[in-house]
């Protein structure tokens, strides 16, 4: 829990500084909600413990299970927020160019950018499909129930459509020699200020210090 709290204390100010806290929290909750609920149910009712909170049929809900579920879900939230912070503050374009100028292969750089772009791409596709559904009379405005009704038919086509687009896009990129050998002459380089460089080194130093403190027993052992 301490580990997650310390990491959270780093991520949350970052989100606030970047002005993306609300958006990132919404996205992170959406991503972790299914797995978070599963973890909670399995832990609370499946984990043995001496403090029984209540009983549901043959299952005992234990305080130890609740404690475990909270710790896991908090870690998941911090992880999702950290990823959301990265996605919200890094353009795929900057990522590709920066990785490439540091010697990473173009294919790998594009794979990283495509991963970063996957959620916005799927969101765009989902928005288009939702517009089509609304245009054909599906009421997704107003009540929460109405909004939820519109989500279910979105998932399959949004995922399939995005995958189809990715396939076509990879053909188009290959036709434009994206995975060719040799170095590209880049038209621009991303801005990299002194403060950004300092921030990166501080983060690296923080990770090293964190691992060292955990190894020395000052902090709880890493999970």
């Amino acid at each position: 829990m301490v580990t997650a709290l310390v990491l959270g204390a780093l991520v949350v100010p970052g989100l606030m500084l970047a002005g993306v806290a609300a958006r990132a929290l919404r996205g992170a909750l959406l991503v972790i909600l299914p797995i978070g609920i599963s973890v909670a149910v399995v832990s609370i009712f499946g984990r043995a413990g001496s403090h029984v909170l209540f009983t549901l049929g043959p299952f005992d809900a234990t305080l130890e299970g609740l404690d475990f579920a909270l710790r896991i879900d908090f870690r998941l939230l911090v992880l999702a927020l950290a990823l959301a912070l990265f996605a919200a503050t890094t353009s795929p374009r900057s990522l590709v160019v920066d990785l490439e100028r540091r010697g990473v292969s173009r294919r790998l750089a594009f794979a990283a950018a495509a991963t970063l772009d996957a959620i916005p791409a799927m969101a765009e596709r989902a928005a288009a499909i939702q517009a089509a559904q609304r245009a054909r009379g599906l009421d997704t405005e107003g009540s929460v129930g109405a909004r939820l009704r519109g989500v279910v038919p979105l998932v399959g086509p949004a995922v399939l459509g995005t995958l189809h687009d990715v396939e076509t896009r990879s053909l188009a990129l290959e036709a434009r020699a994206f995975d060719g050998p040799g170095k590209r002459n880049l038209l621009w380089t991303p801005q990299d200020s002194e403060r950004q460089r300092l921030g990166r080194w501080l983060l690296v130093a923080g990770v090293v210090g964190f691992v060292a403190l955990a190894a020395l027993g000052v902090l709880p052992p890493l999970p």
């Binding site: 353009s91 795929p92 374009r93 590709v96 173009r106 594009f110 950018a113 495509a114 772009d117 791409a121 596709r125 288009a128 499909i129 517009a131 089509a132 559904q133 609304r134 245009a135 054909r136 009379g137 599906l138 009421d139 997704t140 405005e141 107003g142 038919p153 979105l154 399959g156 086509p157 399939l160 459509g161 189809h164 687009d165 076509t168 896009r169 990879s170 053909l171 188009a172 990129l173 290959e174 036709a175 434009r176 020699a177 994206f178 995975d179 060719g180 050998p181 040799g182 170095k183 590209r184 002459n185 880049l186 038209l187």
Partner: protein, 470 residues
């Protein structure tokens, strides 16, 4: 020279050969048009000719594809990129999604070829000017109209200056001016010795541009002459003078949240039973205009009334009972497991149940010639049939106003004719049909009134034929 000798090809996981003995030569400086009905193998032939199939997508190829005497087989896509360019029929999916501006998008290919920065910049500037899209240079490629995106996709390949070029329906989404610029650019390339293979339905483009036209039927090349293509024609156009008001826009203005202006003071009245074409250059605001009628977009100025009531405060779902709207890209519109479910979706939402629902679905599918595909997944249909399915899904809602965004794009002559018949039938029932279209042939044979937009304003409005359809 590009040569295909005895080429047979099947996609991975499929038994059927899409190409079954293709022999075709495209000489240096020659422009060969490739036509044929949808599903005959045009797009597949483009992929094979450019080395993408089986090179990138797999599948089984027999026979030989030769580029300047050298077989394509075994050559990596990046090795071919500077020799043979490929423009796919779906421009949106060709975007890199990592470019912040149109300039960067077009520069992507030349950069990959390892060209010096100065040459990349020069090539990009020249091709943007040649295609008349230098005004878009700083725009976000993800915020362009369909036609603008298509021009950028073509520019992206032309900037690589390949010696051979394969284009799959390159002008489908373009306005006449964009079309003219593309034709001129392709002509110049051919004059410089580039060999071009163009898969296209558009008779005018084929007759104007191509030095030779061949057709593909059941995976084989057959001779074709442009004059032999049947003309799409429908019956006499119905005109309406005094029906009740279906749509009224008063001082309609709209600016997108990113600040891009789309509509500026549009005043417009369309009466019940009218058949109306909305035309204009790519990016002139056509799609933005029609999306106001069912509430997908809300005015930032002025007002829209549909069937006598303001759209203000009314939900899209409620407006859908009055206005059925197909989207320009049918891929954005299809989501159900079967064609039957797809067509039933809208009809059910507007209140059809039981036998009425079955009848509406059957009627919609029958109108577009897809009655025998009711159980097929929409995603297993080809692009043109997806477009027809999207039209069926709106017809089944039996709305008093039917709006079709580029309904004939990518359709072959038979399918084109069918859309004309649909317009005639729907208008005959006293319903209003509005089509956003660049297709001058379709507009002149199927629609009675033409409205032309420029930069978000109506600049011409009158009976078909009273002014040139842009």
């Amino acid at each position: 020279m590009l040569e295909l000798r005895g080429v047979r090809y099947r996609y991975p996981g499929f038994e059927r050969r899409v190409l079954d003995g293709v022999d075709l030569t495209v000489g240096d400086g020659e422009i060969v048009g490739l036509t044929g009905s949808n599903g005959a193998g045009k797009s597949t032939l483009c992929l094979v000719a450019a080395g993408v199939a089986p090179g990138s997508i797999g599948g089984e190829l027999e026979g030989n594809v030769l580029l300047d005497g050298r077989p394509l087989r075994g050559r990596r896509p990046w090795e071919l990129a500077s020799s043979i360019g490929l423009v796919l029929s779906n421009p949106e999916a060709q975007r890199t999604r990592i470019a912040a501006t149109v300039f960067e998008e077009v520069a992507f290919g030349p950069m990959n070829l390892g060209l010096p920065v100065a040459e990349t910049v020069d090539r990009v500037r020249r091709v943007l000017e040649a295609l008349g899209i230098d005004r878009l240079v700083e725009r976000d490629p993800g915020r362009l109209s369909g036609g603008e995106t298509q021009l950028v996709a073509i520019a992206s390949i032309l900037a690589m200056r390949p010696r051979h070029l394969v284009l799959d329906e390159p002008v489908a989404e373009l306005d006449p001016e964009g079309r003219r610029l593309v034709i001129d650019a392709l002509r110049r390339l051919a004059a410089d010795g580039t060999g071009l293979l163009i898969a296209e339905h558009d008779r005018d483009l084929l007759s104007e541009l191509c030095t030779r036209v061949v057709a593909i039927e059941a995976g084989r090349i057959v001779p074709a002459t442009i004059d032999a293509f049947p003309q799409a024609q429908s019956g006499p156009i119905r005109t309406v003078q005094d029906g009740s008001i279906a749509i009224r826009c008063s001082g309609l203005g709209f600016t997108y949240p990113d600040g891009t202006p789309a509509l500026d003071g549009v005043d417009l009245t369309i009466r019940a039973g009218e058949t109306v074409a909305i035309t204009g250059r790519n990016g002139s605001g056509k799609t933005s205009l029609v999306r106001h009628w069912n509430g997908l977009l809300r005015p930032t100025a002025g007002e829209v009334e549909v069937v006598g009531r303001s759209t203000s405060g009314r939900r899209v779902a409620a407006l859908a009972r009055s206005v059925g709207l197909t989207f320009q890209d049918p891929n954005d519109q299809l989501f159900a497991r079967t064609c039957r479910d797809e067509v039933a979706f809208g009809a059910r939402n507007v209140g059809f149940r039981g036998r009425d629902l079955d009848a509406a679905v059957a009627e919609g599918l029958d109108a577009v010639g897809l009655a025998d595909q009711a159980g097929t997944s929409p995603f297993d249909l080809g692009p043109s049939r997806r477009r027809l399915l999207a039209i069926a899904s709106v017809l089944a809602m039996r709305t008093p106003i039917v709006v079709l965004d580029e309904p004939t794009m990518g359709l072959d002559v038979r399918e084109h004719l069918r859309v004309g018949q649909i317009v005639e039938r729907v208008a005959g029932e006293g319903r209003t049909v509005v089509a956003v279209s660049h297709d001058a042939g379709f507009v002149s044979t199927s629609l009675a009134r033409v409205i032309r937009l420029e930069a978000g304003r109506i600049v011409a409005d009158g009976p078909t034929g009273s002014f040139a359809v842009p």
